[in-house]
């Protein structure tokens, strides 16, 4: 086992799958010699050659159309969208074309494509780079959407995504790239694509979060533990599908729940979680479901991000409110 950052775990997963399967291909803007603007593909072109790891012209629809065409020729493409804020340029190829191909061709043609892209905020990037557009893809039938909150899951989920025979959108949190290190096993291991994880057990309330907000939620759980409150924290890991069984089991135990997302309130993953719990476990609840999210503005300018993004303070406030509800 080695200590790895989130981004090192991603690079390692890519290396493992480039080695395991010679049909895997990595391509995107600046992913070759430069190793990607965040260095996620650092050294991979040198190690595996320009046939396997290559730069593309600067066009997101072209990159994803290329991925679809390559998948139709038996490859296992791993395209990168340099920032997920650029995904709208590629929405037809991803949501209109790739996502519906298996269904459209009577189940006979699968497209094993993993679209990697950094998302989320808090790193003061220029306008339209940072964004929380995960719900835009998580509401498309035929796409899986996963996002890890830590280096261990980053590697295991990415390997699972690459091995999966359907299109998977793999979202990497910008803020987490270099802010945490974890023990990460060498070689291949997988984390299931459709299972949430209880990352901290508790009995008084459940916080459901994903990506960077999992770590914010854990801070709140630790703080409240000192006051004798037992907080369970669940990392969704998969935004589509949502692992409702794991969520419902927790709610049946704690009877109180707060759902956290970094995205705007109207931008839907938390809303889906809330409605799933309402449908399946409303009678187990002792309080309304709490929701923590960013406000419904356009994604903020870099200097305003810290005032805008929900973090531990906002989560704590909401958790206390739901715990106190009688």
């Amino acid at each position: 086992m080695a200590k790895m950052s989130y981004i090192q775990a991603i690079t390692d997963a890519l290396r493992v799958e480039l080695k395991n399967d010679d049909k895997t291909l990595i391509f995107g803007e600046d992913v070759g010699k430069n190793g990607g603007v965040f260095r996620a593909t650092d050294g991979l072109q040198a190690e595996f050659g320009e046939e396997r790891v290559f730069d593309t012209p600067l066009a997101e629809s072209g990159i994803n159309g290329l991925a679809m065409g390559l998948a139709l020729q038996g490859f296992r493409p791993i395209p990168e969208i340099q920032f997920f804020g650029f995904v709208f340029e590629a929405m037809d190829e991803i949501a209109g074309q790739m996502a519906r191909t298996r269904y459209r061709m009577n189940g006979k043609v699968g497209l094993p494509i993993t679209i990697r892209s950094p998302f989320g905020g808090g790193t003061h990037t220029p306008e339209m780079h940072a964004d929380s557009l995960e719900a835009v893809v998580a509401t498309v039938p035929g796409l899986r959407v996963v996002t890890p909150s830590n280096p261990y899951d980053a590697k295991g989920l990415l390997i699972s995504a690459i091995k999966n025979n359907d299109p998977v959108v793999f979202l990497e949190n910008l803020k987490l790239y270099r802010s945490m290190k974890d023990e990460v096993p060498e070689g291949e291991y997988t984390v299931p694509l459709d299972k949430a994880k209880v990352v901290r057990e508790g009995t008084d309330i459940t916080i459901i979060a994903y990506s960077a907000e999992v770590n914010e939620s854990l801070k709140v759980a630790e703080k409240l533990e000192k006051e004798g409150k037992s907080v369970e924290v669940i990392d969704l890991r998969s935004l589509s599908p949502i692992d409702t069984d794991t969520l419902v089991a927790s709610v049946n135990k704690t009877h109180r729940v707060v759902v956290v997302q970094e995205a705007q309130r109207m931008a839907g993953v938390a809303a889906k979680v809330v409605s799933d719990i309402s449908e399946r476990a409303i009678l187990a609840l002792d309080a309304p479901i709490g929701r923590v999210s960013a406000p419904d503005t356009i994604y903020p300018f870099g200097l305003a991000e810290d005032d805008w993004l929900p973090g531990a303070a906002e989560i704590e406030e909401k958790v206390r409110e739901i715990l106190d509800f009688n």
């Binding site: 629809s61 020729q73 269904y103 025979n165």
Partner: protein
């Protein structure tokens, strides 16, 4: 500051943009052979086969039109007028070539191996129309999103190159309107950048639904758009099947030879409406404009040449039309026998491994369907 040295003449630059090449033509609209050198390469038998291809497509069109009116077909984009453009192109490609058609390219898809009954099911809105596995059709179902197939064609062709497949290309069609899409430019640009074996075929039929070609672009030709991507391109008389076949074959040979992609602009005309869902060309085309194109009918000119050679007659044509009609009649019958589609089966085909939500929905729909 009033008099400056004129160091660049943009007006002159604009004049020099388009290629001065004339579109290739072998037989003109009067049925005169104007390129004897090319014409003489064809045996009588080959010429008759080309005629049959066009008669086949015209008959398919006429029957499809009638079937649509009777409510026995669904979506249909009429092909009348474009027989030389479509069949001349299709004939130049091989079964192992990967076809990415648009919705007016169903005849090519059929000639590429899709049974007519499946094409009819696609028209009606039945998934079996897109099930290519049984016949091993190398290609995709017709694209609806204008231009999307162009970026995919670049990917398929890159895959062909990476797989080391020899004598194999990807080929794709769009219309004049399609060349305005971002995906058109991205597709040809990617194909050029990676020097892949792809042939891009533009059927310029003058109108994107009602919008005339001159509104789409200031470019003098659509072929010249390829120049910016570093791709060689030619225009061809799309009403002359010999000319279309010649350029399509040359483009295929070029791409299959490892030289990179090529683009063809075929100058053609859609005689009828955009689709059979209420489009009326009288709203946007004058009869004065239509007449020279109707006179240019690709069947008329080859028919004249073949009749002069005494290898074709009204009787031969009518006998062949009856054969095609019988083939179409059987296809309709077979399409009618297709099983009713089930939502539970759609759910099973969203992912290879259904998600828990979908597993639940499959069970619910199966219970409903069992009633």
């Amino acid at each position: 500051m009033s008099s400056r040295v004129k160091f660049v003449d943009f007006a002159a630059k604009k004049e020099s943009l388009a290629s001065k090449d004339k579109p290739l033509q072998v037989i003109n609209s009067k049925g005169e052979i104007i390129n004897k050198e090319i014409f003489d390469q064809y045996s009588d038998e080959e010429l008759v086969d080309l005629m049959k291809l066009m008669v086949w497509e015209r008959t398919l069109h006429q029957r499809s039109n009638a079937l649509t009116r009777q409510g026995r077909l669904g979506f249909y984009a009429p092909t009348e007028g474009q027989e030389a453009s479509e069949m001349g192109a299709q004939l130049a490609f091989k079964k192992n070539d990967y076809l990415l058609p648009a919705y007016r390219d169903v005849p090519q898809l059929i000639k590429h191996g899709l049974p007519i009954w499946k094409a009819f099911l696609w028209s009606r809105g039945h998934v079996l129309g897109n099930d290519f596995e049984e016949e091993g059709v190398v290609g995709l179902p017709p694209q609806i999103i204008i231009g999307a197939q162009y970026v995919q064609a670049a990917g398929v062709a890159l895959g062909i190159k990476k797989n080391g497949l020899t004598d194999t290309v990807a080929y794709t069609f769009t219309g004049d309107g399609g060349t305005s899409q971002g995906d058109f430019y991205e597709g040809i640009n990617f194909a050029g950048a990676y020097q892949v074996p792809a042939v891009f075929f533009v059927q310029n039929n003058g109108y994107a639904i009602s919008t005339p070609r001159h509104v789409q672009t200031a470019a003098e030709t659509l072929a010249q758009k390829a120049v910016a991507a570093g791709i060689p391109a030619v225009q061809v008389d799309g009403m002359d099947i010999l000319a279309v076949y010649e350029v399509a074959k040359a483009a295929r040979d070029y791409a299959a030879g490892g030289n990179g992609p090529a683009l063809i602009e075929s100058l053609t005309f859609r005689f009828g409406p955009h689709t059979n869902a209420g489009d009326d060309p009288k709203r946007y085309r004058s009869t004065d404009e239509e007449k020279p194109w109707f006179d240019s009918d690709p069947l008329i000119r080859l028919r004249k040449v073949l009749m002069d050679k005494k290898v074709w007659s009204e009787e031969i044509e009518n006998t062949y039309i009856e054969e095609v009609k019988a083939e179409i009649k059987d296809a309709v019958k077979k399409a009618d026998e297709a099983p009713k589609q089930k939502v539970s089966e759609f759910l099973e085909n969203v992912f290879e491994e259904p998600t828990p939500d979908i597993v639940e929905q499959i069970a619910a729909f199966k219970a409903k369907e069992a009633k």
